[in-house]
Every structure is written in structure tokens, then in C-alpha cells.
């Protein structure tokens, strides 16, 4: 296959994913009892699009499977059968299979052994309506190749074609000459005559049609001639008659080729075979309304968000753009500094311009960053299906509530959040919510509530997963954590700290490890994923009332809200999201403990401290006034710095192009004075420090 086709295929596969999402969300709504025609139509269209593309690109398994889905959906949208749960389940199964085939590449080699049985089930379901006339459009597909051959092919030697176009023929963009050329291409034309049906100039009406053709041909099947006229036969008076060789109706018919073009004055008595066509001068235009259910159904937008038109852009192009704008921001702020120090009469006017530039660059930067933003609905949209399947499996009744689906997040952040979200929802269903019996016994409503919400809050996105289940039992957690050696026997923990233990590696509280939320390997991975994105996750829980998991994520990975600090004369940036509090070292109780190094007291707990000047081997003069308390994978640690300078949004520049990953650093940024500041990575600082080794 050539490159171009390969590229089109890739685009098609992308479109398939979008259509699969539409299918899934639509089917979910149908499963919940939404049998609205718009929904059914939307689902039908999605299946239909996949089928069309799949057959064009030669993805036969996908084409066949979607064909079967579409047949069942077509019955539903034509309201020949009700939308019932069994059928929706069947379609969802087919969808899963479709996804499997697509993931494997979509082509013949990606076929799945289950496909035949799923298709048989779909077929059976269609057959169950007892409506044979619409049995399947397998017949219709065949129709494509055979549709014109209504008449049995008749091997006749000569045909007489009379052709008088009506005005509509011309109104629809047809050209009689092209049709006649086509006749000549497939047959031997023996004679052709054009005549006008207009008797004189007075009767001439330019909006009417007067020209008539009478053509005699041989060596052709009648069906082939009819096929040429297939699309215009209602827009013209047409007759195609077989003629016996001995009684040729046209004068001089035997002449090799006789083209006789008559003008407006033409003698109209020339018409030989008085067919029906000849009895009228012209036919009045009567538009017959077409009744067609697809035209009825698809008139109004099915989903408002489909109206936003979009273009596809490769992510690296956008990233390049973002990078350039980042540079521009830096240049701008450098310029701004320079303008401050200019001592000149033009200074005021320069400052004014620089302020304009500052506004513009900020707007530009925000707009460009916006390009990478996607609504969180694309991550949320797969959850209803998950909850539906899981609640069936666990036999729990759940009301899944989604809120703030339009909240936007960076594409990469969003993509990397999908797995953690899925895991947290599974966990909430499996461990959080009780069974129906337990709920009734506890005096709660039968149906458990699982609520996901997303919102933007001061430069970050907050996602909450809340259930009204049994909550976390702190005693159990603590006992288990002690058993597993995660917490020392004599270690005292606050309630908050106990709750965070569910994120500790190797922790599982399910009485029986179920195949739903797995073996407890998930929660620590969930936290790691979130922290790697520069975010934070916290748990709040009340025994018997429910659990709330709060995830805080940065809006973007390219720009960071940073706290500037100075360490031995150097400026560093600490990500604000990881900072809990800043303490004054002199006012904080601190001491050195043999096993743990330096510790300080923070809200009743002892924190390990890391002196950043010695961590980064700075020999400059240092004051070490402040302790910045940061959260690293659930462990808190105090970073000792000299001063906090201010907060600033910084553009993250990766170091790994020039250096290998440097432990303790997340990247670098260029400050407004043109100097480079390094961005601290609290997690790797903690992990690579002696503190972690000691613990």
C-alpha cells in the first residue's frame, strides 16, 4: 500500500475511535431507557460511518461486524422494534469486540474468533422482530451490483429509443448530449434524429423543454440502455422498444447514420411511433415530496457539541508553537526589565508599549495553551459503561453522577489521568459502596451514590471522587499497616495520615481480593501517576458515611506555578502544588536525631529536613532561614532554603536534551532577567537524600 493510503487509513482509524466513543455513550443512554430517536440515530450513524470507511479501506471484519450492528440499529431507528436492554447489551458486546479488532489493527489479521458468534446473535435478534421485509440489507448490498437488471437480458438486435427530456431534467443539471454519447459508446447507433416540439416562435417558452431525440441502435441490451437513463427516467419521457428487424419504424432507418436536426420550425408530424410521450407538448413540473425516514430523523442536531467544527493538528506542531510562545514570554519580560532601567525621555512611551506587549503575549500564550486543552468529558465518558458493568457484576445499585464535564485539562494530563480515574471508580464501587442489603441494614437508600466532579480552582484542576459508602475504617487500616510493616508498632498517626495509607505500596484492605479492583497494587500506582503529573491526591473519609478522594492537577505540563526560593545565592523554583506550608526555622523546634538526621516539628509530627544548600553542593553564603514543607508521594519533608522570593508562572524547559536526568531537578526555566533557574523535584530530592535511606 502506498504512503498516502496508509495516511488515510490512520485518519480513518482515528475517526473510528471517535465513533466508538459516540457509540458507547449513545448505547449507554439507550441502556438507561433513553429511546429518543436522536440518540438512536446518533448511534446508528456512528456504526454506519465505521462500516463505510471499513469497507472502503478493506477492513473486512470491522465492516461485517458494524454491518450487523447497523442492521439492528436501523430496525430501532425506523421504530420497527423497541429499544430493549438485551439488544443494547448485545450491541455493547459487539462494540467491545469492535474495539478489540480495531486495537489489533482493524484488518483481516486482527479478526477475532468471537466475531461470528456475536454476529449470529445480532442476526437472531433482528430476525426476532419477524419483520422479514427488512430482514437485513445484506440483500441491499447485493442490490448495488444487480439493481439495474430488472428485466431479464434480452438479446435483441435493434432498439428504438425515444427521449424527450422534461424541464426538470435540465433543472437538475443534466446534459442530454452526455447521455447520448454514452448510448453511442455502448451500442452501434444506426440513426439519430433530433426534433423540436415547438411549432412556432410564438409558442416558444425558454423555461419549457421542446427537443426530442429518436435513436435507433443495435448490438446492445435493453437493460444497458435503461441503465444509462436510470437517474433521469422520471425527468423525461422515455421509451426503449425492441423492434423487429423487418419493420423498421423510422424512415430511412436502414441508412447507415442519419442525423437530422430540425429547428424550431420543424415538422412535428415526423413522429413515427405515436407513443405516450408524443401526446403532450410539455409536462408541467410536479414536485413529488419524498417520504424518507432518514430525512425526517436527521434534521436537527443530535448532539450540540458536534456542531463545533474542528481540525486535526499533530501534537508536536502545537508543542512547537507553545515552546515559541514560551520564548516570546521570556523575551517580553526581559524587555520589560530593560525598559525599567532606561533613563531617557522616551522611557514613558517605551514602557507603555512594553505594557501592551505584555498583555498581548499573555493573551497569546493563554490562547495557544488552550489549543492543548480538552474537556474532561472525554475521560469521564468511559465511566458510565464501567460502572454499569461493574455494578451488575458486584450486584450493587449505583447512581453515577458526573459534574463539571466541560472542565478543561491539558491533553497529556488528561490521557494520563484516565487509568487512575478508572481505578479510583472501580475501587469506590468495590470497596467503598456497600451491597444493597448492607445499605438497607445501615438505614441508607438502596442505591449508592458515586459522584465525580471536576472544576478549575486557581490555576489547577480539582477532580473529586465521592461515594456515600461505608468509609474507611481507620482502626482496620492501622492494624493492617502495622501487620504489613508499613507503619512501625509504636508510631502514632493522625487520622489524616491513616487515611493516606491506602496509597501506600503493597496495601490492600479488601477482605477478599476481588477481580474487580485487584490486589491492592493499584492505589500506590494511582498516586504515583498523579504525583508524576505534578499533582496531589488526598483522602477524606468518615466511617459509615463515605469517602472523598480529591485530586489536584496542574492545568498544563508546560507551564508551572512556581515558588521562587533562594539557596546560597542561587534561585530555584519549587512547584507550588507540592508545597504545604513554609515555616521559619528559628521559630520551629528542630534537632538532630541519630537515625533520622535532622528533624523539625510540624503540626505535631516530626518531619525530616533536607538542607538544600548542601544537597546541591553550594558553597556560597547561606542563611537557611526557612523550611518549605512539601508533599512527596505522601511523605512530607522539609526543604531548608534561605528565602522565598515570590511566585511566578514559569515555562518548563527539560534538561534531558543536554544533561541526563538530574536527580532532584524537574527541569529549568529562564527568568525575566535572562538567568536560568532550576526547578526542584521534591519527590526525587526526598528519594535521593540520606533521609530516605535512613527511613
Amino acid at each position: 500500500m502506498d504512503e498516502e493510503l496508509e495516511e488515510f487509513r490512520a485518519i480513518f482509524l482515528d475517526e473510528c475511535l471517535e465513533n466508538i466513543e459516540l457509540l458507547e455513550s449513545g448505547l449507554m443512554r439507550m441502556g438507561e431507557g433513553d429511546s429518543d430517536l436522536d440518540t438512536v440515530n446518533e448511534v446508528f450513524r456512528a456504526a454506519h460511518s465505521i462500516k463505510g470507511g471499513a469497507s472502503t479501506f478493506g477492513f473486512n471484519p470491522m465492516a461485517e461486524l458494524t454491518h450487523h450492528m447497523e442492521t439492528l440499529l436501523d430496525e430501532m431507528r425506523a421504530e420497527r422494534r423497541p429499544v430493549v436492554e438485551e439488544d443494547v447489551d448485545l450491541l455493547l458486546n459487539a462494540l467491545d469486540l469492535l474495539q478489540t479488532i480495531l486495537t489489533a489493527g482493524g484488518d483481516d489479521d486482527s479478526d477475532h474468533p468471537d466475531r461470528a458468534s456475536v454476529q449470529v446473535k445480532l442476526e437472531k435478534s433482528v430476525a426476532n422482530t419477524g419483520d422479514i421485509s427488512n430482514d437485513s440489507d445484506a440483500a441491499a448490498t447485493k442490490d448495488v451490483n444487480t439493481e439495474v437488471i430488472d428485466d431479464a437480458p434480452t438479446a435483441i438486435s435493434k432498439l428504438l429509443i425515444q427521449f424527450l427530456p422534461k424541464p426538470e431534467f435540465y433543472k437538475r443539471g443534466n446534459d442530454p448530449l452526455l447521455l447520448i454519447r454514452e448510448i453511442a459508446r455502448i451500442s452501434s447507433v444506426e440513426s439519430l434524429r433530433v426534433s423540436s416540439r415547438c411549432s412556432d416562435w410564438a409558442a416558444f417558452d425558454p423555461s419549457e423543454s421542446f427537443l426530442e431525440w429518436v435513436i435507433q441502435v443495435s448490438n446492445v441490451e435493453k437493460a444497458d440502455i435503461l441503465e444509462i437513463f436510470e437517474w433521469v427516467d422520471t425527468d423525461c419521457d422515455l421509451s426503449v422498444e425492441e423492434i423487429p428487424t423487418e419493420a423498421l419504424p423510422i424512415d430511412k432507418a436502414q441508412a447507415p447514420l442519419n442525423v437530422e436536426v430540425s429547428g424550431l420550425e420543424a415538422d412535428k408530424s415526423k413522429d413515427v411511433n405515436a407513443k405516450d410521450a408524443n401526446t403532450k407538448e410539455s409536462t408541467p413540473v410536479t414536485a413529488q415530496p419524498t417520504q424518507n425516514d432518514s430525512s425526517k430523523a436527521a434534521k436537527k442536531p443530535a448532539k450540540p457539541n458536534q456542531e463545533t467544527s474542528s481540525i486535526r493538528i499533530a501534537t508536536d506542531k502545537i508543542d512547537h508553537l507553545i515552546n515559541l510562545v514560551g520564548e516570546l514570554v521570556i523575551t517580553q519580560s526581559m524587555l520589560s526589565r530593560v525598559s525599567d532601567s532606561i533613563d531617557d525621555i522616551d522611557r514613558d512611551s517605551l514602557r507603555e508599549r512594553v505594557t501592551d506587549l505584555e498583555h498581548n503575549t499573555r493573551d497569546l500564550q493563554e490562547s495557544v495553551m488552550q489549543v492543548r486543552m480538552l474537556p474532561i468529558s472525554s475521560a469521564f465518558s468511559r465511566l458510565p459503561r464501567l460502572v454499569r458493568d461493574l455494578s451488575k457484576k458486584l450486584d450493587k445499585k449505583v447512581d453515577l453522577q458526573l459534574e463539571g464535564e466541560t472542565t478543561e485539562l491539558d491533553k497529556t494530563v488528561l490521557e494520563r489521568m484516565i487509568d487512575p480515574l478508572v481505578h479510583l471508580v472501580r475501587n469506590g464501587l468495590d470497596h467503598g459502596l456497600e451491597t444493597t442489603e448492607e445499605r438497607i441494614a445501615a438505614g441508607k437508600s438502596e442505591v449508592g451514590i458515586l459522584k465525580l466532579s471536576a472544576r478549575q480552582a486557581s490555576g489547577s484542576v480539582v477532580i473529586e471522587i465521592k461515594d456515600d459508602g461505608k468509609g474507611i475504617n481507620p482502626e482496620r487500616i492501622l492494624t493492617l499497616a502495622r501487620e504489613r510493616g508499613i507503619v512501625g508498632e509504636d508510631e502514632e498517626l493522625s487520622l489524616e495520615q491513616i487515611n493516606q495509607l491506602i496509597f501506600a505500596p503493597g496495601f490492600s484492605t479488601a477482605e477478599e481480593v476481588s477481580d474487580v479492583s485487584g490486589r491492592g497494587v493499584g492505589m500506590d500506582v494511582v498516586r504515583r501517576n498523579i504525583v508524576d503529573l505534578g499533582g496531589r491526591v488526598t483522602v477524606h473519609s468518615e466511617l459509615g458515611k463515605g469517602t472523598l478522594i480529591e485530586i489536584k492537577l496542574p492545568l498544563s505540563l508546560a507551564i508551572l506555578d512556581g515558588q521562587l526560593v533562594s539557596v546560597a545565592g542561587e534561585t530555584y523554583v519549587i512547584p507550588i502544588l507540592s508545597i504545604i506550608e513554609t515555616l521559619e526555622l528559628t521559630k520551629t523546634e528542630h534537632s538532630t536525631v541519630p537515625e533520622r538526621g535532622e528533624i523539625c516539628q510540624f503540626r505535631g509530627e516530626y518531619l525530616s529536613m533536607i538542607r538544600m544548600a548542601s544537597y546541591f553542593n553550594h558553597s556560597g553564603e547561606k542563611s537557611e532561614n526557612l523550611v518549605v514543607v512539601v508533599d512527596t508521594h505522601g511523605k512530607r519533608v522539609g526543604l531548608v532554603v534561605d528565602q522565598v522570593i515570590g511566585q511566578q508562572q514559569v515555562v518548563i524547559k527539560p534538561l534531558d536534551k543536554n544533561y541526563k536526568n538530574v536527580s532532584g531537578l524537574a527541569g529549568a526555566t529562564i527568568m525575566s532577567d535572562g538567568s536560568v533557574a532550576l526547578i526542584m523535584d521534591p519527590t526525587s530530592i526526598y528519594e535521593s537524600s540520606y533521609v530516605a535511606e535512613a527511613a
Partner: protein
């Protein structure tokens, strides 16, 4: 020749263009991803031929065709669609289409359908 391709699938628009190019037509292409968009743009584009999908999200092909015919537009119009039932062909014809090409199509299917329409 100015040709407007109306299909909600990008890949489908691309493959239609490619097929037409391979047949050897000298065409200038305009695209629309929905009947409603095509309806808004047809006056501006002023194409000589429209190749249109049947099923589209907001305005389907047949409604688009009916709408422009109602306004007296005589552009040559053909459907390129996955289904091709007798009823659809009849409806297409009645609404004023000149041909219907079924997907999956070949270069030949375009040649055959277009010859009587654009020569």
C-alpha cells in the same frame, strides 16, 4: 471542474479525492463536513458537481439536495454512500440526484457514474 465533497468523515473525503485524481479528472476540490455546512457554502463555492454522503450528523445528504434544488440550484449532484437500497436510489432520484455510488467504490464506479453526468 469545481467539485464539492460533502462527508463527515475526513478519511472518506480524502479517499474520494484520491480516487477521482487517479481516474484522471482535472478537478478542483472544496470540502464540507456536513450537509448544513455544504448548504451554507455552496453559494460561495459555486461547484459544478457535488459528491455527497447520505448520513451526516446535522443535515443529511438528501435534505441538503432537496434544499438546494428547491432554490433552483442545477448543480450536478451524486451520492457516495454506504447503503444503496432501491428505496434510497428512488428517493435520491426523486430529489434530483444524478447518480449514486456505493461504498466501497472503485475507480471504475466513479468513471461509470460520472461519464453520463460530466462526460
Amino acid at each position: 471542474m469545481r467539485v464539492m465533497i460533502v462527508d463527515d468523515s475526513t478519511s472518506m473525503r480524502l479517499i474520494v479525492k484520491r480516487t477521482l485524481k487517479r481516474v484522471g479528472y482535472d478537478m478542483e476540490f472544496m470540502e464540507a463536513d456536513d450537509g448544513s455546512v455544504a448548504y451554507d457554502k455552496i453559494g460561495e463555492y459555486n461547484p459544478e458537481l457535488v459528491l455527497c454522503d447520505w448520513n451526516m450528523p446535522i443535515m443529511n445528504g438528501i435534505d441538503f439536495l432537496k434544499a438546494i434544488r428547491e432554490e433552483g440550484n442545477t448543480v450536478k449532484f451524486g451520492f457516495v454512500t454506504t447503503e444503496s437500497t432501491a428505496e434510497m436510489r428512488a428517493a435520491a432520484k426523486e430529489a434530483g440526484a444524478q447518480f449514486l455510488i456505493a461504498k466501497p467504490f472503485t475507480e471504475e464506479s466513479f468513471e461509470k457514474a460520472l461519464r453520463p453526468v460530466i462526460g
